[in-house]
Symmetry: C2
Subunit: 107 residues, 2 copies
């Protein structure tokens, strides 16, 4: 899995909104998703393509409709393999921060 694609896909607020919308109601068509966005259909298509490339969204054709489904796995992996690492030493980092900012060893 390309973790960089996932981070880049999450970097845009419109794309995060799309994920939110799918989280609220899974399996929506492109047109339905467009309803929430203040941009053209093409722009939404491009955002969704990026999300699909990052494996955050999976699609399936139903006749002339393209249904979009949320895939939560990459989010989990971002946490497990990236954010979690920092959390494990969270207290230590905060101690460092406080120690040095509030007058540490030589100040």
């Amino acid at each position: 899995m390309d973790i960089d694609k996932v981070f880049k896909a999450l970097a845009d607020p419109s794309r995060r909104l799309l994920l939110d919308r799918l989280h609220r109601e899974n399996g929506q068509t492109l047109s339905a998703l467009c309803g929430h966005m203040a941009m053209t259909r093409q722009a939404v298509t491009q955002h969704l393509a990026l999300l699909e490339d990052a494996n955050l969204v999976a699609t399936q054709w139903h006749g002339r409709e393209k249904l979009h489904f949320l895939n939560p796995v990459p989010l989990q992996e971002i946490y497990d393999r990236w954010i979690g690492k920092f959390e494990r030493n969270r207290l230590r980092a905060l101690r460092d921060l406080k120690h040095h900012l509030e007058g540490g060893d030589d100040e």
Copy 2:
């Protein structure tokens, strides 16, 4: 807290590497951090400024040296307020996905 700044800060691999380096050894100077990066000092400075603006890094001057400290709080908040939400319905989303991809109601 501006969650968008945090996501944008995390979108670049060089900036994630900088966080990794600070995680490995906290309180490094700009020059020390430059040692790990294949770019000019100015580029690193700009990356660090973005991280600081996103509140992922805090700095403190020690004479002519600028020390950089990791602040894990925004990462925690990204998890709590964003990723966690999706995780709570992770199984449901995966069920939706499987159901529709492997031949659902009408296929």
